[in-house]
Protein backbone atom coordinates (compact mmCIF):
# COMPACT_ATOMS: atom_id res chain seq x y z
CA UNK A 1 0.00 0.00 0.00
CA UNK A 2 2.75 2.43 0.87
CA UNK A 3 4.78 3.89 -1.90
CA UNK A 4 8.09 5.26 -0.90
CA UNK A 5 8.40 7.72 -3.73
CA UNK A 6 7.62 11.41 -3.75
CA UNK A 7 4.94 12.39 -1.26
CA UNK A 8 1.77 14.04 -2.62
CA UNK A 9 1.44 16.30 0.38
CA UNK A 10 4.32 17.81 2.24
CA UNK A 11 3.72 20.12 5.18
CA UNK A 12 6.78 22.08 6.30
CA UNK A 13 6.96 24.31 9.34
CA UNK A 14 3.27 25.24 9.11
CA UNK A 15 2.22 27.94 11.55
CA UNK A 16 -1.31 29.18 12.05
CA UNK A 17 -1.87 32.03 14.46
CA UNK A 18 -4.99 33.73 15.72
CA UNK A 19 -4.78 37.38 16.66
CA UNK A 20 -7.37 38.23 19.29
CA UNK A 21 -7.83 40.83 21.99
CA UNK A 22 -6.11 38.50 24.45
CA UNK A 23 -3.03 38.28 22.29
CA UNK A 24 -1.70 35.93 19.65
CA UNK A 25 -2.79 32.32 19.95
CA UNK A 26 -0.36 29.96 18.28
CA UNK A 27 -2.84 27.22 17.43
CA UNK A 28 -0.45 25.50 15.04
CA UNK A 29 3.18 26.27 15.72
CA UNK A 30 5.52 24.83 13.19
CA UNK A 31 4.51 21.34 12.18
CA UNK A 32 5.95 19.03 9.53
CA UNK A 33 4.63 15.85 8.00
CA UNK A 34 4.32 14.11 4.66
CA UNK A 35 1.63 12.02 3.06
CA UNK A 36 2.07 9.51 0.27
CA UNK A 37 -0.42 8.07 -2.18
CA UNK A 38 -2.62 5.41 -0.62
CA UNK A 39 -1.27 6.10 2.83
CA UNK A 40 -3.24 7.00 5.96
CA UNK A 41 -1.71 9.41 8.41
CA UNK A 42 -3.34 9.78 11.78
CA UNK A 43 -3.09 13.07 13.61
CA UNK A 44 -3.99 12.55 17.26
CA UNK A 45 -4.09 14.75 20.29
CA UNK A 46 -6.56 16.13 22.76
CA UNK A 47 -9.09 18.88 22.09
CA UNK A 48 -7.47 22.19 21.29
CA UNK A 49 -4.05 20.82 20.37
CA UNK A 50 -4.34 22.19 16.83
CA UNK A 51 -5.39 19.10 14.89
CA UNK A 52 -8.41 20.67 13.23
CA UNK A 53 -6.62 23.94 12.63
CA UNK A 54 -3.86 22.02 10.85
CA UNK A 55 -6.37 20.43 8.52
CA UNK A 56 -8.20 23.69 7.88
CA UNK A 57 -4.89 25.40 7.20
CA UNK A 58 -4.03 22.89 4.48
CA UNK A 59 -7.14 23.91 2.54
CA UNK A 60 -6.79 27.54 3.63
CA UNK A 61 -10.19 27.50 5.31
CA UNK A 62 -9.05 29.22 8.48
CA UNK A 63 -11.56 31.92 9.40
CA UNK A 64 -9.64 35.07 8.59
CA UNK A 65 -9.57 37.39 10.44
CA UNK A 66 -8.69 36.47 13.20
CA UNK A 67 -6.79 33.45 11.86
CA UNK A 68 -3.78 33.60 9.60
CA UNK A 69 -1.21 31.20 8.24
CA UNK A 70 1.86 32.80 9.74
CA UNK A 71 4.54 30.69 8.11
CA UNK A 72 5.62 27.46 6.52
CA UNK A 73 4.47 25.77 3.36
CA UNK A 74 2.07 23.09 2.21
CA UNK A 75 3.38 21.44 -0.94
CA UNK A 76 0.74 19.58 -2.90
CA UNK A 77 2.30 17.79 -5.86
CA UNK A 78 5.13 20.29 -5.65
CA UNK A 79 2.98 23.46 -5.56
CA UNK A 80 2.72 25.56 -2.43
CA UNK A 81 -0.90 25.92 -1.34
CA UNK A 82 -0.07 28.66 1.15
CA UNK A 83 0.98 31.19 -1.47
CA UNK A 84 -1.32 30.03 -4.28
CA UNK A 85 -3.84 32.59 -5.66
CA UNK A 86 -7.37 32.12 -4.33
CA UNK A 87 -9.00 31.03 -7.59
CA UNK A 88 -6.41 28.32 -8.14
CA UNK A 89 -6.87 27.21 -4.56
CA UNK A 90 -10.60 26.90 -5.26
CA UNK A 91 -9.89 24.45 -8.06
CA UNK A 92 -8.08 22.21 -5.61
CA UNK A 93 -10.66 22.35 -2.82
CA UNK A 94 -13.24 19.61 -3.13
CA UNK A 95 -11.57 18.39 -6.30
CA UNK A 96 -8.02 17.26 -5.56
CA UNK A 97 -8.13 17.68 -1.79
CA UNK A 98 -11.42 17.04 -0.01
CA UNK A 99 -12.46 17.26 3.54
CA UNK A 100 -14.97 15.52 5.78
CA UNK A 101 -16.01 17.47 8.83
CA UNK A 102 -16.66 16.49 12.37
CA UNK A 103 -20.32 17.48 12.69
CA UNK A 104 -22.52 15.73 10.17
CA UNK A 105 -25.58 17.32 11.74
CA UNK A 106 -24.54 20.88 10.92
CA UNK A 107 -22.12 20.48 8.03
CA UNK A 108 -24.77 20.02 5.37
CA UNK A 109 -26.85 22.93 4.13
CA UNK A 110 -30.28 22.48 5.74
CA UNK A 111 -32.31 23.86 2.84
CA UNK A 112 -30.66 22.22 -0.17
CA UNK A 113 -31.42 18.61 -1.21
CA UNK A 114 -28.39 16.41 -0.48
CA UNK A 115 -28.15 15.19 -4.08
CA UNK A 116 -27.82 18.78 -5.22
CA UNK A 117 -25.11 19.41 -2.63
CA UNK A 118 -23.08 16.56 -4.09
CA UNK A 119 -23.85 17.41 -7.72
CA UNK A 120 -22.70 20.98 -7.20
CA UNK A 121 -19.05 19.99 -6.82
CA UNK A 122 -19.26 17.74 -9.87
CA UNK A 123 -20.70 20.48 -12.06
CA UNK A 124 -18.05 22.88 -10.83
CA UNK A 125 -14.92 20.75 -11.04
CA UNK A 126 -15.76 18.07 -13.57
CA UNK A 127 -17.78 20.42 -15.79
CA UNK A 128 -20.62 17.91 -15.83
CA UNK A 129 -24.09 18.80 -17.10
CA UNK A 130 -27.01 19.02 -14.72
CA UNK A 131 -28.35 15.57 -15.48
CA UNK A 132 -24.98 13.82 -15.52
CA UNK A 133 -23.98 15.40 -12.22
CA UNK A 134 -27.26 14.38 -10.63
CA UNK A 135 -26.91 10.79 -11.84
CA UNK A 136 -23.37 10.67 -10.56
CA UNK A 137 -24.41 12.00 -7.17
CA UNK A 138 -27.09 9.29 -6.92
CA UNK A 139 -24.39 6.79 -7.81
CA UNK A 140 -22.13 8.23 -5.09
CA UNK A 141 -24.92 7.88 -2.52
CA UNK A 142 -25.31 4.28 -3.57
CA UNK A 143 -21.58 3.72 -3.25
CA UNK A 144 -21.50 4.99 0.32
CA UNK A 145 -24.25 2.54 1.15
CA UNK A 146 -27.36 4.68 1.33
CA UNK A 147 -30.46 2.63 0.51
CA UNK A 148 -32.86 3.94 -2.19
CA UNK A 149 -30.42 6.66 -3.25
CA UNK A 150 -32.74 8.10 -5.93
CA UNK A 151 -35.24 9.00 -3.24
CA UNK A 152 -32.69 10.13 -0.68
CA UNK A 153 -30.92 12.43 -3.13
CA UNK A 154 -34.04 14.57 -3.33
CA UNK A 155 -34.36 14.85 0.44
CA UNK A 156 -33.01 17.55 2.65
CA UNK A 157 -30.56 16.82 5.48
CA UNK A 158 -33.19 16.98 8.22
CA UNK A 159 -34.84 13.92 6.71
CA UNK A 160 -31.66 11.85 7.13
CA UNK A 161 -30.16 10.25 10.22
CA UNK A 162 -26.73 11.26 11.56
CA UNK A 163 -25.01 8.23 10.06
CA UNK A 164 -26.62 8.87 6.70
CA UNK A 165 -25.60 12.51 6.77
CA UNK A 166 -22.00 11.52 7.40
CA UNK A 167 -22.25 9.14 4.46
CA UNK A 168 -23.53 12.03 2.38
CA UNK A 169 -20.53 14.09 3.52
CA UNK A 170 -18.24 11.27 2.43
CA UNK A 171 -20.03 10.94 -0.90
CA UNK A 172 -19.65 14.69 -1.37
CA UNK A 173 -15.95 14.62 -0.49
CA UNK A 174 -15.22 11.68 -2.77
CA UNK A 175 -17.40 12.71 -5.72
CA UNK A 176 -14.48 14.19 -7.63
CA UNK A 177 -12.10 11.33 -6.68
CA UNK A 178 -9.65 13.47 -4.74
CA UNK A 179 -6.01 12.56 -4.26
CA UNK A 180 -6.05 13.59 -0.63
CA UNK A 181 -8.90 13.20 1.82
CA UNK A 182 -8.78 15.02 5.12
CA UNK A 183 -11.16 13.41 7.58
CA UNK A 184 -11.57 15.61 10.64
CA UNK A 185 -13.01 13.39 13.36
CA UNK A 186 -15.35 11.74 10.87
CA UNK A 187 -16.88 9.42 13.43
CA UNK A 188 -16.89 11.41 16.67
CA UNK A 189 -20.55 12.38 16.46
CA UNK A 190 -21.72 8.88 15.54
CA UNK A 191 -22.52 5.83 17.62
CA UNK A 192 -20.09 2.94 17.68
CA UNK A 193 -21.68 0.62 15.12
CA UNK A 194 -22.03 3.43 12.62
CA UNK A 195 -18.44 4.49 13.41
CA UNK A 196 -17.12 1.11 12.35
CA UNK A 197 -19.14 1.19 9.15
CA UNK A 198 -17.95 4.67 8.24
CA UNK A 199 -14.28 3.82 8.88
CA UNK A 200 -14.64 0.63 6.88
CA UNK A 201 -16.19 2.64 4.08
CA UNK A 202 -13.39 5.21 4.01
CA UNK A 203 -10.80 2.43 3.96
CA UNK A 204 -12.57 0.59 1.19
CA UNK A 205 -12.87 3.67 -0.97
CA UNK A 206 -9.28 4.56 -0.27
CA UNK A 207 -8.12 1.26 -1.71
CA UNK A 208 -10.41 1.77 -4.69
CA UNK A 209 -9.29 5.31 -5.51
CA UNK A 210 -5.80 5.11 -4.03
CA UNK A 211 -5.98 8.42 -2.25
CA UNK A 212 -3.94 9.57 0.71
CA UNK A 213 -5.94 10.08 3.88
CA UNK A 214 -5.26 12.34 6.83
CA UNK A 215 -7.30 10.99 9.71
CA UNK A 216 -7.71 13.54 12.45
CA UNK A 217 -8.97 12.08 15.67
CA UNK A 218 -8.62 11.93 19.40
CA UNK A 219 -9.75 8.32 19.38
CA UNK A 220 -6.76 5.98 19.58
CA UNK A 221 -9.02 3.10 18.60
CA UNK A 222 -9.69 4.77 15.26
CA UNK A 223 -5.95 5.25 14.79
CA UNK A 224 -5.16 1.62 15.50
CA UNK A 225 -7.87 0.57 13.08
CA UNK A 226 -7.11 2.77 10.12
CA UNK A 227 -3.72 4.49 10.14
CA UNK A 228 -0.33 3.53 8.71
CA UNK A 229 1.54 6.20 10.61
CA UNK A 230 0.72 8.62 13.36
CA UNK A 231 1.63 12.15 14.31
CA UNK A 232 0.90 12.94 17.94
CA UNK A 233 0.14 16.62 18.51
CA UNK A 234 0.42 18.53 21.74
CA UNK A 235 -0.17 22.27 22.18
CA UNK A 236 0.38 23.14 18.52
CA UNK A 237 3.42 20.91 17.97
CA UNK A 238 4.00 17.42 16.72
CA UNK A 239 5.70 15.63 19.64
CA UNK A 240 6.05 12.20 18.11
CA UNK A 241 5.81 10.82 14.61
CA UNK A 242 6.08 7.08 13.93
CA UNK A 243 4.36 4.08 12.42
CA UNK A 244 1.13 2.98 14.07
CA UNK A 245 2.64 -0.32 15.29
CA UNK A 246 5.58 1.54 16.75
CA UNK A 247 3.41 4.09 18.56
CA UNK A 248 1.27 1.44 20.20
CA UNK A 249 4.09 -1.00 20.97
CA UNK A 250 6.77 1.38 22.18
CA UNK A 251 5.78 5.03 22.51
CA UNK A 252 8.77 7.31 22.99
CA UNK A 253 7.45 10.69 24.02
CA UNK A 254 6.22 10.93 27.64
CA UNK A 255 2.98 12.50 26.37
CA UNK A 256 2.30 9.60 24.00
CA UNK A 257 3.06 7.23 26.84
CA UNK A 258 0.63 9.08 29.08
CA UNK A 259 -1.99 9.08 26.35
CA UNK A 260 -1.74 5.33 25.86
CA UNK A 261 -1.56 4.75 29.56
CA UNK A 262 -4.84 6.56 30.08
CA UNK A 263 -6.70 4.14 27.83
CA UNK A 264 -8.92 1.88 29.94
CA UNK A 265 -7.69 -1.71 29.77
CA UNK A 266 -10.25 -4.34 29.02
CA UNK A 267 -8.55 -7.16 30.91
CA UNK A 268 -7.77 -5.27 34.07
CA UNK A 269 -10.14 -4.37 36.81
CA UNK A 270 -9.64 -0.61 37.01
CA UNK A 271 -11.31 1.45 39.67
CA UNK A 272 -10.42 4.79 38.18
CA UNK A 273 -9.23 5.96 34.79
CA UNK A 274 -5.61 7.01 34.66
CA UNK A 275 -5.09 10.63 33.63
CA UNK A 276 -2.14 12.87 32.89
CA UNK A 277 -1.71 15.32 35.75
CA UNK A 278 -1.78 19.05 35.11
CA UNK A 279 -3.29 20.82 32.12
CA UNK A 280 -2.36 22.04 28.65
CA UNK A 281 -0.60 25.45 28.63
CA UNK A 282 -2.67 28.37 27.33
CA UNK A 283 -2.10 28.99 23.61
CA UNK A 284 -1.71 32.68 24.45
CA UNK A 285 1.10 32.03 26.85
CA UNK A 286 3.26 29.15 25.75
CA UNK A 287 6.19 28.24 27.99
CA UNK A 288 9.68 28.87 26.68
CA UNK A 289 10.76 25.28 27.13
CA UNK A 290 9.11 21.99 26.32
CA UNK A 291 5.32 22.50 26.33
CA UNK A 292 4.78 19.24 28.15
CA UNK A 293 7.44 19.87 30.81
CA UNK A 294 5.05 20.93 33.57
CA UNK A 295 3.14 17.64 33.26
CA UNK A 296 6.10 15.39 32.45
CA UNK A 297 7.28 12.88 35.05
CA UNK A 298 10.84 13.00 33.59
CA UNK A 299 11.27 16.77 33.31
CA UNK A 300 14.72 18.17 34.05
CA UNK A 301 16.02 21.73 34.17
CA UNK A 302 16.69 21.86 30.46
CA UNK A 303 13.08 20.90 29.66
CA UNK A 304 11.67 24.04 31.23
CA UNK A 305 14.39 26.24 29.76
CA UNK A 306 14.57 25.22 26.09
CA UNK A 307 12.16 23.73 23.63
CA UNK A 308 13.44 20.48 22.12
CA UNK A 309 13.41 19.91 18.32
CA UNK A 310 11.63 17.11 16.59
CA UNK A 311 14.61 14.79 16.11
CA UNK A 312 14.99 11.40 14.50
CA UNK A 313 15.19 8.64 17.03
CA UNK A 314 15.50 6.01 14.34
CA UNK A 315 14.74 5.98 10.64
CA UNK A 316 10.98 5.87 11.19
CA UNK A 317 10.62 7.52 14.55
CA UNK A 318 10.80 11.22 15.25
CA UNK A 319 10.35 12.57 18.74
CA UNK A 320 10.40 16.02 20.33
CA UNK A 321 11.94 15.30 23.73
CA UNK A 322 15.21 16.07 25.48
CA UNK A 323 15.19 12.56 26.87
CA UNK A 324 16.41 11.21 23.55
CA UNK A 325 19.27 13.66 23.11
CA UNK A 326 22.77 13.76 24.51
CA UNK A 327 21.78 16.78 26.65
CA UNK A 328 19.83 14.41 28.85
CA UNK A 329 21.38 13.69 32.24
CA UNK A 330 18.94 11.04 33.39
CA UNK A 331 19.30 12.39 36.92
CA UNK A 332 15.79 11.52 38.03
CA UNK A 333 16.02 8.04 36.55
CA UNK A 334 19.12 7.42 38.64
CA UNK A 335 17.45 8.80 41.72
CA UNK A 336 14.76 6.25 41.15
CA UNK A 337 11.95 8.74 40.78
CA UNK A 338 10.51 6.97 37.80
Amino acid sequence: MKERNKPILEVKGLKTHFTTKRGVSKAVDGIDFTLHKGETLGIVGESGCGKSMTSLSILRLIPSPPGKIAGGSVLFKGRDLVTMPEDEMRKIRGNEISMIFQEPMTSLNPVIPVGEQIAEALRLHQKMGKKAAWDKSVEMLKMVGIPSPEKRAKQEPFQLSGGMRQRVMIAMALACTPEVLIADEPTTALDVTIQAQILELIKELQTKIGMGVIMITHDLGVVAETCDKVAVMYAGNIVEHASTEQIFADPKHPYTQGLLNSLPKIHEDQEELITIDGSVPSPYNMPAGCRFASRCPYAEDICAAHQPDLVSYSEDIKVRCWKYTDKWTGKRDKEGVV
Binding site: L61, R90, S98, N109, P110, V111, I112, E120, M172
Partner: protein
Amino acid sequence: MLMFILRRILQTIPVIIGVTFVVFFIMQLVPGDPAVLLAGEGASKETIEAIREQLGLNQPLYIQYFEYLTNVFKGDLGVSLKNSQPVLDEILVRLPITIELAFFSIIITIVLGMAAGIISAVKPYSLTDVSVMLVALLGISLPSFWFGLMLMYFFSVKLQILPVAGWDSLLHVILPAITLGAGGAAIVARMTRSSMLEVIRQDYIRTARAKGLRERIIIYKHALRNALIPVITVVGLQFGALLGGTVLVESIFAINGLGRMIVDAIRMRDLPMVQGGVLFASLIFVVVNLFVDVFYRFFNKRIELN
Protein backbone atom coordinates in the same frame (compact mmCIF):
# COMPACT_ATOMS: atom_id res chain seq x y z
CA MET B 1 -47.43 21.39 0.26
CA LEU B 2 -51.02 21.61 -1.04
CA MET B 3 -52.33 20.13 2.19
CA PHE B 4 -50.28 22.65 4.09
CA ILE B 5 -51.80 25.57 2.18
CA LEU B 6 -55.31 24.18 2.54
CA ARG B 7 -54.98 23.69 6.27
CA ARG B 8 -53.42 27.08 6.66
CA ILE B 9 -56.38 28.66 4.80
CA LEU B 10 -58.86 26.87 7.07
CA GLN B 11 -57.01 28.28 10.04
CA THR B 12 -57.75 31.82 8.94
CA ILE B 13 -61.51 31.35 9.44
CA PRO B 14 -61.50 31.55 13.24
CA VAL B 15 -59.04 34.45 12.96
CA ILE B 16 -61.41 36.35 10.72
CA ILE B 17 -64.35 35.73 13.05
CA GLY B 18 -62.17 36.92 15.93
CA VAL B 19 -61.39 40.07 13.97
CA THR B 20 -65.09 40.86 13.46
CA PHE B 21 -65.61 40.37 17.18
CA VAL B 22 -62.83 42.74 18.16
CA VAL B 23 -63.77 45.31 15.52
CA PHE B 24 -67.39 45.28 16.67
CA PHE B 25 -66.72 45.62 20.36
CA ILE B 26 -63.96 48.20 20.07
CA MET B 27 -66.39 50.42 18.25
CA GLN B 28 -68.79 50.06 21.16
CA LEU B 29 -66.14 51.47 23.46
CA VAL B 30 -65.67 54.60 21.39
CA PRO B 31 -67.31 57.51 23.17
CA GLY B 32 -70.10 59.38 21.38
CA ASP B 33 -73.53 58.27 20.27
CA PRO B 34 -73.88 57.77 16.53
CA ALA B 35 -77.60 58.34 16.72
CA VAL B 36 -77.07 61.78 18.22
CA LEU B 37 -74.47 62.57 15.65
CA LEU B 38 -76.64 61.41 12.79
CA ALA B 39 -79.65 63.34 13.96
CA GLY B 40 -77.64 66.50 13.98
CA GLU B 41 -77.62 69.33 16.48
CA GLY B 42 -80.86 70.30 18.14
CA ALA B 43 -82.74 67.19 17.11
CA SER B 44 -85.57 66.10 19.33
CA LYS B 45 -85.35 63.13 21.62
CA GLU B 46 -87.94 61.33 19.54
CA THR B 47 -85.91 61.69 16.38
CA ILE B 48 -82.82 60.32 18.07
CA GLU B 49 -84.84 57.45 19.49
CA ALA B 50 -86.26 56.72 16.07
CA ILE B 51 -82.81 56.60 14.53
CA ARG B 52 -81.65 54.26 17.30
CA GLU B 53 -84.59 52.02 16.59
CA GLN B 54 -83.86 52.08 12.88
CA LEU B 55 -80.19 51.17 13.31
CA GLY B 56 -80.96 48.52 15.91
CA LEU B 57 -78.87 50.32 18.53
CA ASN B 58 -81.44 49.57 21.21
CA GLN B 59 -80.96 45.84 21.10
CA PRO B 60 -78.63 43.95 23.42
CA LEU B 61 -75.01 43.93 22.26
CA TYR B 62 -74.77 40.24 21.48
CA ILE B 63 -77.79 40.43 19.19
CA GLN B 64 -76.29 43.45 17.49
CA TYR B 65 -73.07 41.51 17.07
CA PHE B 66 -74.71 38.44 15.56
CA GLU B 67 -76.71 40.57 13.23
CA TYR B 68 -73.50 42.33 12.24
CA LEU B 69 -71.72 39.02 11.73
CA THR B 70 -74.41 37.49 9.53
CA ASN B 71 -74.55 40.67 7.51
CA VAL B 72 -70.80 40.65 7.06
CA PHE B 73 -70.89 37.13 5.68
CA LYS B 74 -73.68 38.20 3.36
CA GLY B 75 -71.42 40.98 2.14
CA ASP B 76 -73.49 43.67 3.78
CA LEU B 77 -71.35 46.01 5.83
CA GLY B 78 -74.17 48.48 6.44
CA VAL B 79 -74.54 51.95 5.08
CA SER B 80 -72.46 54.99 5.78
CA LEU B 81 -74.02 57.26 8.34
CA LYS B 82 -72.60 60.18 6.42
CA ASN B 83 -74.02 59.72 2.98
CA SER B 84 -76.16 56.58 3.26
CA GLN B 85 -74.11 54.77 0.62
CA PRO B 86 -73.32 51.09 1.17
CA VAL B 87 -69.99 50.81 3.03
CA LEU B 88 -68.78 47.96 0.83
CA ASP B 89 -69.09 50.06 -2.33
CA GLU B 90 -66.97 52.79 -0.83
CA ILE B 91 -64.36 50.28 0.37
CA LEU B 92 -64.14 48.58 -3.00
CA VAL B 93 -63.33 51.92 -4.59
CA ARG B 94 -60.67 52.75 -2.01
CA LEU B 95 -59.14 49.32 -1.47
CA PRO B 96 -57.30 48.94 -4.82
CA ILE B 97 -55.56 52.28 -4.24
CA THR B 98 -54.28 51.22 -0.83
CA ILE B 99 -53.28 47.79 -2.12
CA GLU B 100 -51.35 49.41 -4.95
CA LEU B 101 -49.60 51.74 -2.52
CA ALA B 102 -48.85 48.89 -0.11
CA PHE B 103 -47.60 46.70 -2.94
CA PHE B 104 -45.06 49.23 -4.20
CA SER B 105 -44.01 50.06 -0.65
CA ILE B 106 -43.38 46.45 0.29
CA ILE B 107 -41.40 46.00 -2.93
CA ILE B 108 -39.22 48.92 -1.85
CA THR B 109 -38.93 47.43 1.63
CA ILE B 110 -37.88 44.03 0.33
CA VAL B 111 -35.60 44.97 -2.56
CA LEU B 112 -33.89 47.91 -0.91
CA GLY B 113 -33.70 46.25 2.50
CA MET B 114 -32.29 42.93 1.36
CA ALA B 115 -29.83 44.47 -1.07
CA ALA B 116 -28.50 46.79 1.62
CA GLY B 117 -28.33 43.96 4.15
CA ILE B 118 -26.40 41.68 1.80
CA ILE B 119 -23.96 44.42 0.78
CA SER B 120 -23.30 45.08 4.45
CA ALA B 121 -22.93 41.46 5.45
CA VAL B 122 -20.49 40.53 2.70
CA LYS B 123 -17.91 42.97 4.08
CA PRO B 124 -18.79 43.42 7.73
CA TYR B 125 -17.32 46.41 9.58
CA SER B 126 -16.07 47.91 6.31
CA LEU B 127 -16.77 51.51 5.36
CA THR B 128 -19.63 50.38 3.09
CA ASP B 129 -21.16 48.37 5.90
CA VAL B 130 -20.94 51.19 8.39
CA SER B 131 -22.42 53.77 6.00
CA VAL B 132 -25.24 51.49 4.87
CA MET B 133 -26.14 50.68 8.45
CA LEU B 134 -26.00 54.35 9.40
CA VAL B 135 -28.49 55.16 6.66
CA ALA B 136 -30.63 52.25 7.85
CA LEU B 137 -30.55 53.62 11.39
CA LEU B 138 -31.74 56.96 10.05
CA GLY B 139 -34.46 55.17 8.10
CA ILE B 140 -35.77 53.55 11.25
CA SER B 141 -35.54 56.73 13.28
CA LEU B 142 -37.18 59.21 10.91
CA PRO B 143 -40.92 59.62 11.46
CA SER B 144 -42.68 58.95 8.18
CA PHE B 145 -44.82 62.09 8.21
CA TRP B 146 -41.69 64.22 8.39
CA PHE B 147 -39.81 62.09 5.86
CA GLY B 148 -42.79 62.29 3.49
CA LEU B 149 -42.95 66.06 3.78
CA MET B 150 -39.20 66.35 3.17
CA LEU B 151 -39.43 64.20 0.06
CA MET B 152 -42.33 66.30 -1.12
CA TYR B 153 -40.40 69.48 -0.48
CA PHE B 154 -37.30 68.39 -2.39
CA PHE B 155 -38.70 66.43 -5.28
CA SER B 156 -42.00 68.19 -5.85
CA VAL B 157 -41.52 71.76 -4.67
CA LYS B 158 -37.78 72.40 -5.24
CA LEU B 159 -36.88 70.10 -8.11
CA GLN B 160 -40.42 69.81 -9.44
CA ILE B 161 -39.83 66.39 -10.96
CA LEU B 162 -42.56 64.51 -9.14
CA PRO B 163 -46.19 65.40 -8.39
CA VAL B 164 -46.96 66.80 -4.96
CA ALA B 165 -50.03 64.79 -4.17
CA GLY B 166 -52.92 62.83 -5.63
CA TRP B 167 -53.15 59.48 -7.30
CA ASP B 168 -53.33 59.65 -11.09
CA SER B 169 -50.26 58.04 -12.61
CA LEU B 170 -47.38 55.82 -11.65
CA LEU B 171 -45.35 58.96 -10.95
CA HIS B 172 -47.73 59.71 -8.11
CA VAL B 173 -46.85 56.39 -6.52
CA ILE B 174 -43.13 57.04 -6.14
CA LEU B 175 -42.94 59.42 -3.20
CA PRO B 176 -45.68 57.85 -1.06
CA ALA B 177 -44.25 54.39 -1.69
CA ILE B 178 -40.76 55.50 -0.67
CA THR B 179 -42.14 57.24 2.42
CA LEU B 180 -44.06 54.16 3.43
CA GLY B 181 -41.42 51.59 2.47
CA ALA B 182 -38.29 53.27 3.84
CA GLY B 183 -38.77 52.41 7.50
CA GLY B 184 -39.42 48.78 6.67
CA ALA B 185 -36.47 48.69 4.30
CA ALA B 186 -34.23 49.85 7.11
CA ILE B 187 -35.48 47.16 9.45
CA VAL B 188 -35.20 44.48 6.77
CA ALA B 189 -31.65 45.66 5.96
CA ARG B 190 -30.54 45.28 9.55
CA MET B 191 -32.27 41.94 9.89
CA THR B 192 -30.79 40.62 6.64
CA ARG B 193 -27.32 41.73 7.70
CA SER B 194 -27.40 40.10 11.12
CA SER B 195 -29.02 36.96 9.75
CA MET B 196 -26.42 36.69 6.99
CA LEU B 197 -23.56 37.19 9.44
CA GLU B 198 -25.03 34.48 11.62
CA VAL B 199 -25.39 32.06 8.71
CA ILE B 200 -21.94 32.75 7.28
CA ARG B 201 -20.40 31.36 10.47
CA GLN B 202 -22.24 28.05 10.14
CA ASP B 203 -20.52 24.74 9.46
CA TYR B 204 -22.30 24.21 6.16
CA ILE B 205 -20.82 27.41 4.78
CA ARG B 206 -17.39 26.01 5.62
CA THR B 207 -18.42 22.83 3.80
CA ALA B 208 -19.42 24.91 0.77
CA ARG B 209 -16.01 26.62 0.84
CA ALA B 210 -14.26 23.26 1.20
CA LYS B 211 -16.08 22.19 -1.95
CA GLY B 212 -14.29 24.93 -3.87
CA LEU B 213 -17.37 27.01 -4.64
CA ARG B 214 -17.05 30.64 -5.61
CA GLU B 215 -17.78 33.22 -2.94
CA ARG B 216 -20.73 34.52 -4.99
CA ILE B 217 -22.40 31.11 -5.06
CA ILE B 218 -21.68 30.60 -1.38
CA ILE B 219 -23.38 33.90 -0.54
CA TYR B 220 -26.38 33.73 -2.86
CA LYS B 221 -27.08 30.03 -2.91
CA HIS B 222 -25.88 28.64 0.39
CA ALA B 223 -26.08 31.56 2.78
CA LEU B 224 -28.96 33.69 1.51
CA ARG B 225 -31.56 30.95 1.40
CA ASN B 226 -30.94 30.18 5.03
CA ALA B 227 -30.60 33.81 6.05
CA LEU B 228 -33.91 34.70 4.42
CA ILE B 229 -35.98 32.57 6.76
CA PRO B 230 -36.07 35.08 9.63
CA VAL B 231 -36.21 37.97 7.16
CA ILE B 232 -39.47 36.67 5.69
CA THR B 233 -41.04 36.86 9.14
CA VAL B 234 -39.88 40.44 9.53
CA VAL B 235 -41.24 41.37 6.11
CA GLY B 236 -44.60 39.88 7.10
CA LEU B 237 -44.66 41.90 10.30
CA GLN B 238 -43.54 44.99 8.43
CA PHE B 239 -46.53 44.62 6.18
CA GLY B 240 -48.75 45.10 9.20
CA ALA B 241 -46.88 48.23 10.18
CA LEU B 242 -47.11 49.35 6.59
CA LEU B 243 -50.90 49.08 6.57
CA GLY B 244 -50.96 51.27 9.66
CA GLY B 245 -48.64 53.65 7.86
CA THR B 246 -51.00 54.03 4.91
CA VAL B 247 -53.28 56.04 7.19
CA LEU B 248 -50.56 58.67 7.64
CA VAL B 249 -49.09 58.59 4.18
CA GLU B 250 -52.46 58.75 2.45
CA SER B 251 -53.30 61.77 4.52
CA ILE B 252 -50.00 63.52 3.73
CA PHE B 253 -50.19 62.88 0.01
CA ALA B 254 -53.96 63.32 -0.25
CA ILE B 255 -54.57 59.85 -1.57
CA ASN B 256 -58.13 58.56 -1.36
CA GLY B 257 -57.27 55.14 -0.05
CA LEU B 258 -58.62 52.94 2.67
CA GLY B 259 -56.42 54.50 5.37
CA ARG B 260 -57.65 58.00 4.71
CA MET B 261 -61.19 56.72 4.51
CA ILE B 262 -60.87 55.22 7.99
CA VAL B 263 -59.45 58.47 9.38
CA ASP B 264 -62.28 60.49 7.87
CA ALA B 265 -64.84 58.00 9.11
CA ILE B 266 -63.47 58.14 12.63
CA ARG B 267 -63.65 61.89 12.58
CA MET B 268 -67.28 61.69 11.46
CA ARG B 269 -68.12 58.91 13.93
CA ASP B 270 -69.30 57.01 10.89
CA LEU B 271 -69.41 53.72 12.74
CA PRO B 272 -70.25 51.25 9.94
CA MET B 273 -67.60 52.84 7.74
CA VAL B 274 -64.90 52.50 10.41
CA GLN B 275 -65.91 48.93 11.11
CA GLY B 276 -65.82 48.05 7.45
CA GLY B 277 -62.48 49.76 6.90
CA VAL B 278 -60.80 48.12 9.88
CA LEU B 279 -62.26 44.76 8.92
CA PHE B 280 -60.76 45.01 5.44
CA ALA B 281 -57.40 46.19 6.72
CA SER B 282 -57.38 43.17 9.03
CA LEU B 283 -58.34 40.88 6.17
CA ILE B 284 -55.41 42.13 4.12
CA PHE B 285 -53.14 41.43 7.06
CA VAL B 286 -54.51 37.92 7.49
CA VAL B 287 -54.03 37.17 3.79
CA VAL B 288 -50.49 38.57 3.82
CA ASN B 289 -49.64 36.42 6.82
CA LEU B 290 -50.98 33.43 4.96
CA PHE B 291 -48.59 34.18 2.11
CA VAL B 292 -45.72 34.67 4.54
CA ASP B 293 -46.34 31.25 6.07
CA VAL B 294 -46.49 29.60 2.68
CA PHE B 295 -43.23 31.28 1.62
CA TYR B 296 -41.71 30.33 4.92
CA ARG B 297 -42.58 26.74 4.37
CA PHE B 298 -41.22 26.92 0.84
CA PHE B 299 -37.85 28.12 2.10
CA ASN B 300 -37.76 25.84 5.09
CA LYS B 301 -39.36 22.48 4.56
CA ARG B 302 -38.70 21.49 8.16
CA ILE B 303 -41.77 23.45 9.17
CA GLU B 304 -44.76 21.27 9.85
CA LEU B 305 -48.17 22.57 10.75
CA ASN B 306 -49.82 20.77 13.63
